[in-house]
């Protein structure tokens, strides 16, 4: 197992390098030069040139890439001009907030989605199946940012059950219950679409598995139906559900950008949008590379989980 994890980590290196190249190239396409953006259009040509030199922007593209990459590897993502602080510090602070939001949403979508899919498949064409299918249809069609706004209207404004936005109360908050109260709405709004997708897939994976010969064998042995469904069938269905969970993690992470805007959650998505609007290239570049790298590592964990589940995968 250790060797397998190591092998997967090594195979991720070219992917990570590729990501840095792609992001760097996209950022290099930017028309005009960042120095003008930073100094404003009234800057003198001398000042622009000096800043370009200071930022290392006068070097050829390839050289610039390797300088930047070398710095990134040792953890130096540069300095954000708009925030005037190291990019990495900002990223780490913001990403931890996103991780709480996206992590909780991901667990919600995995648990609820699989559960709904299993119930739906086990009661195919029954009332529960129809209800779940209908709910899933609504869930995957509603834009998460719209859903979030409607939740604010209902639960925060009209019913006053939950805080409108933010991560902690401004006065006197800061503890875990406070965080949870702030987390309920954004996490559920964020998980709705992914839950729908997971439920749909789990249902069809279960239906596929339930037709297999080994399910008939389990029934022929006299295994109780509950165990046939929750044990034999679900275990086998997980083989096709887990990769989709990996993909959905990407969608949850993506959706977090919208939800962070709606709920004023101090996460990395909002940071990126702000950075784009302020044309803070180093911050965008660093944030994108950092999150993409985390996602790649997460997917390695998904693969490892898959190999633990399925002994037929050669490790």
């Amino acid at each position: 197992m250790g060797a397998y994890i190591l092998k997967r980590l090594v195979s991720a290196v070219p992917v990570l390098l590729g990501i840095t190249v792609i992001v760097f190239l996209i950022m290099a396409m930017i028309p005009g030069d960042p120095a003008t953006a930073i100094l404003g259009s009234y800057a003198t040509p001398e000042n622009v040139e000096k800043l370009n030199r200071d930022l290392g922007l006068d070097a050829p593209l390839v050289q610039r890439y390797f300088i930047w990459l070398g710095n990134v590897i040792v953890g130096d993502f540069g300095r954000s001009y708009s925030l005037n602080r190291p990019v990495l510090d900002e990223i780490l602070e913001r990403f931890s907030a996103t991780l709480i939001l996206a992590g909780v949403s991901f667990v919600l979508c995995a648990v609820l989605g699989i559960l709904a899919g299993v119930v739906s498949a086990a009661r195919q064409y029954g009332l529960a199946d129809k209800a779940i299918t209908f709910a899933v249809l609504i869930g995957i069609s509603v834009p998460s940012f719209f859903l979030g706004m409607m939740m604010i209207l209902l639960f925060a404004v009209n019913l006053r059950w939950l805080p409108v936005s933010g991560m902690y109360a401004i006065y006197g908050g800061g503890d875990l219950p406070d965080l949870l109260r702030h987390l309920i709405m954004p996490a559920s709004a964020l998980s709705v679409v992914a839950t729908g997708v997971v439920a749909r897939l789990s249902r069809s994976a279960m239906l596929e598995v339930l037709r297999q010969d080994y399910i008939r064998t389990a029934r022929a042995k006299g295994v109780p139906e509950r165990r046939v469904i929750m044990g034999h069938a679900l275990r086998a269905a997980m083989v096709s559900i887990i990769p989709v969970l990996g993909i959905q993690a990407g969608f949850v992470l993506s959706g977090a950008v919208y939800i962070e805007m709606v709920f004023q959650w101090p996460g990395i998505g909002r940071m990126l949008v702000d950075a784009i609007l302020k044309r803070d290239i180093l911050l965008v570049q660093g944030g994108v590379v950092f999150v993409a790298a985390c996602y790649v590592l997460f997917n390695i964990m998904v693969d490892v989980a898959q190999s633990l589940l399925d002994p037929r995968i050669k490790t």
Binding site: I19, I138, P143, M149, M206, R211, R219, G222, G269
Partner: protein, 622 residues
Amino acid sequence: MTRFLALLVRNRLAAAGGIILFCVLVLTLITPFLPLQDPDVTATANRFLRPFSPGHLLGTDHLGRDLLSRLLWGTRLSLAVGIAAAVLAAVIGSAIGITAGYFGGRTDNIIMRLVDMLMAFPYILLALAIVAALGPGLMNALIAVAAVNIPFFARNIRGITVGLAGQEFVDAARLGGLGHTRIILTELLPNVIPVIVIAMSTTVGWMILETAGLSFLGLGSQPPQADLGSMLGEARSALITSPHTSVIPGLMIFIIVMSINLLGDGVRDALDPRLRSGALSRPRAATLVERQGEIPAASDDLLAIQELETQFHVGQRTYRAVNQVSLSVRPGECLGVIGESGSGKSVTALSVMGLVASPPGVITGGAVRFRGDDLVGMPYEQLRQKRGDRVAYIFQDPLSTLHPLYRTGDQLAEAIRSHHRIDKAQARARAIDLFKAVRIPNAESRIDNYPHEMSGGMRQRVGIAMALANEPDVIIADEPTTALDVTVQAQILTLLDELRRERGLAIIFITHDFGVVGQLCDRVAVMYAGRIIEEGPTGAVLAAPAHPYTKRLIACVPELGEGRRKLAAIPGLPPAVDRLPAGCAFAERCDKAQEACRTGDISLSGTAPRTVRCLFPEEAMP
């Protein structure tokens, strides 16, 4: 195509989605001709008018602009951008996919590596990076959304193309001297287009949502121009005071995406042949029972199948897989059931414990009695307690019948623990004993193997051990040796025979091989098209088959040392069991058939144990 449309219309939800989408499309197309107010004229005196205000049906926004007008213009823009992004992504992605799939080799490798790399991003990061580079703006958002979806199309289309590129018609075109471009455009593209269209229909909803999302973040359409996303984004600050400005564009996005999803699902279902045949339905825990007619009275056999009828109901068709079949076994007896594939022998075997997949299987008549109790009408929990405990199964092909993800020992232990309250250590010890009983070497370490780590013969031994786990009274073996090679087959048969003699087991042995029947069975029943056509002691049937079918079936068995002999295959095929002819089902293929064979019901004649269903038997019945 008409069939496809008919299927689509029959799917009411898909039709509803189609109609809604059509209405929205028409509305956006005629928007410029409607008597609407200018969507961009501000009138701050009239800000935040509620819906149904005079002159403003849907009210006004934070700058006093007419919401109805803005909604329709915004919808028009959102749809146009979303569809444009979908087309752009489809065209570029498909071009990449076809190129990679057609040329293969290094081209394919490099392109797919790149695609994989792009897919390693959560999509929004890539979109944000592109927008960051190009600057906020609707056109740039469109490009970003299209670019993010290109890998999806490239990968899908490449998969299809790889399959097509290896086929004869492509080779023929190549040998005919067509250039690469011609082959791609005239041979490959027409075959790939339906896939592209389906992929587009399933992603266009997403793309509308994604562009709306970027606009919502303020990175898409810039004021005063507005699509649905930016309308929602602008309304956000007034969410609490004037919710209608948010609700209206939000609902519109929801309606559009939902109708596209409904339609897309319908299209996919209509095109997926598996769903059409109903094959994707889940078998219930026990076969459905809808018995008509009288239930036969109990007999004193250990296990008696009585006038059993099992049918498959698929759509309007009824397949009579098992038709009035009666069989029985006594303790220690081995009954062979023989027939070609499709003769109904396996369905008969599975009907005993309600294991016929249903839907589509239904038991429509007769009974199965174990020690006099009717298994067919029994409540599920009682039936479950007998399954594997009193009547156990051995199936064909143990690779697919054993669970691939559980250790064989655990599967065995589970069979025991489903019926007996014993702890794990005891169950494991018992599993080791059973492995030894079926002569699996190194039983102590073998029980920790997964099925894929064992040979076919070993797996079948596990299957047998599992059947023996609770010392059942009856074992139903459904072609247990068919997937094995001859030496292993002989070992397994010897093992079963020994177990039967040692433990007084009754065995019902399903096979299509007379050689196996001769080795193991006391009695044999021959099935054809769902009915028993001959039954008798094995020796008598083998020596003097009475039904022409049995005779020719036996003649099909090659024997060692017989030298060169013409193997007489039986011409023709068994009749489809949804269109059974009147009279004898074998008449079509029988060279003795006469007019009388094709009319009326032919009953079993002779006296038990020797019976035959034939008007002109080869041998006289006692």
